[in-house]
């Protein structure tokens, strides 16, 4: 029992909504950059950078972060997770970095990404943009920009599909 709750056109609209929020939150003098959390935050960050270009902010730098080495459960998982690697090809000092993820749940991934990002330098600010907020936070973190909020429980599975990785744009809701 896995049902589609967001179709492709709707997902595109949610990303547009995020871009609009980022532009609205942008203050004069902010130097923006995007860092997507792997894997699905990375294509989302690229889409947002393209949408910002359409809104008069072309050429914003985009990086990708793999938080595996900063996970707080590395000692708990039975098998060593594969690390894909972080690619931030620009100096983040003084930038306003928009951290991008497809979904926020416990907040632990965001915490890990913040720790890793701060090892690269001292950005002027870090903002968090997520396509879907499914609640159930375990740490005190909250997104600045949100596409969609859905109510879920721990038994629910939220699958976000992006064409760059999954061949389609959609959000599915299932059960464990």
């Amino acid at each position: 029992m896995r049902k589609r709750i967001v179709a492709a056109e709707e997902l595109a609209r949610l990303v547009e909504k995020l871009a609009d929020q980022i532009v609205a939150g942008d203050r004069a003098g902010d130097r923006l950059a995007f860092v997507g959390i792997k894997r699905r935050g990375e294509p989302l960050a690229r889409r947002l950078a393209r949408l910002l270009a359409d809104r008069g902010r072309p050429g914003l730098p985009v990086g990708a972060i793999d938080i595996t080495l900063y996970r707080d459960d590395l000692q708990l998982v039975a098998e060593t997770p594969i690390v894909r690697g972080t690619e931030i090809g620009f100096d983040i000092n003084g930038l306003t970095v928009v951290l991008v993820d497809d979904v926020i749940y416990t907040g632990r991934t965001t915490r890990a990404a913040l720790s890793e990002l701060l090892d690269f330098g001292r950005p002027a600010a870090i903002r968090l943009a997520v396509l879907v907020d499914r609640g159930n936070r375990e740490l005190p973190v909250a997104p600045d920009f949100t596409g969609l909020v859905i109510e879920t429980g721990p038994q629910d599975l939220v699958d976000i599909c992006l064409s760059e990785i999954d061949g389609e744009d959609a959000v599915y809701l299932g059960r464990r």
Partner: protein
């Protein structure tokens, strides 16, 4: 076993012979990733916070021991040094006793160098901690082979079809053995060259050609892997003199000038300058000796991460 983590088949690193192709690929891809970590403003990640390893070196080493210690610290793990001179080994403690005592201190991994072939395997069969072989007698030195191959791949793209020549004491070199095994696995054409007294019998069975005259093969190869002349072999009947060794098997200034234009030179260090290589090699733009040292840290980070990541299952019995 999850398909997400093929590298988890790696319980210990005893030799190249025990590694699967997936293990080797995982070590290389993680080493590449860790090399980029080493280039960050803060070249430390918290991945192995709380883990403790011990460097159990029963033979002298500077670069290997410090490379492992540095790799551990870059992963936020502790690496306890163990000095042979100050240890209870001098009071007659056996290898197993030493290891058990160290394990009783709840160490997660043991990095061992020992003059006896099989020492690492001996420990791995008796300890719950993971074991990394940092050189056992004339048997294997797998992290050296891995960092050599990683360095060559970085420079040449691939080892597939490349001609690699190992020069020197093949018979007593654990580096030679591990390197031949790994280079062959990666598709290289491997040859060895040295005095007949230092070429082991049946070395062809490892899949390599044998040459006794350096000038017959040196100028055709893509990779020259020089080996250290072990001082204790000199004058012990293996070859008459340093001068003769240098004349017949040394990478001299004259030979260096005649290498193929794209040929690269590696050496596991420490180098006996003026014996197996003239000092001019250090200025040769295709000498990768310092790249080897730099990459050694990244490769050892990969090995430690893949062995120590995840949790040791407390309920699983220690292997027999």
């Amino acid at each position: 076993m999850s398909s997400k983590a093929p590298a988890r088949s790696l319980r210990h690193l005893l030799g190249i012979a025990e590694l699967s192709d997936e293990d080797i690929a995982a070590i290389f891809s993680h080493a590449e990733m860790f090399k980029s970590v080493l280039g960050r403003p803060i070249p430390v990640v918290p991945a192995l916070r709380g883990k403790t390893f011990v460097n159990l070196f029963f033979e002298a080493s500077t670069r290997t021991a410090s490379s492992f210690a540095l790799a551990a610290s870059r992963l936020s793990a502790q690496c306890l040094g163990f000095s042979l001179a100050a240890s209870a080994v001098r009071k007659g403690e056996t290898l197993l006793d030493t290891a058990r005592n160290i394990e009783a201190m709840r160490v997660d991994g043991v990095i061992i160098r020992h003059s006896m072939a099989g020492a690492a395997r001996f420990l791995s069969e008796r300890l719950r901690a993971f074991v990394v072989n940092a050189g056992d007698g004339c048997h294997e030195h797998p992290t050296q082979a891995l960092l050599d191959a990683f360095t060559l791949r970085e420079k040449l793209g691939t080892l597939e079809g490349r001609r690699v020549l190992l020069v020197g004491d093949i018979a007593h070199s654990r580096v030679a053995r591990s390197n031949i095994l790994l280079f062959r696995r990666l598709g290289a054409r491997v040859a060895v060259c040295g005095p007949p007294t230092l070429i082991p019998p049946r070395v062809e069975e490892l899949g390599c050609e044998v040459f006794y005259r350096l000038d017959r093969v040196l100028y055709e190869v893509d990779v020259v892997n020089m080996l250290r002349v072990q001082n204790e072999r000199i004058g012990a009947g293996a070859f008459p003199s340093v001068r003769e060794y240098r004349a017949l098997f040394g990478l001299t200034r004259e030979r260096l000038a005649r290498l193929a234009r794209s040929a690269v030179v590696i050496h596991p260090g420490p180098v006996n300058w003026g014996v197996e290589m003239d000092y001019e090699v250090s200025d040769f733009p295709h000498a990768l000796i310092m790249n080897q040292v730099t990459n050694g840290v990244a490769v050892r980070m990969a090995v430690l991460y893949l062995l120590a990541g995840g949790h040791a299952d407390e309920d699983s019995p220690a292997p027999a």
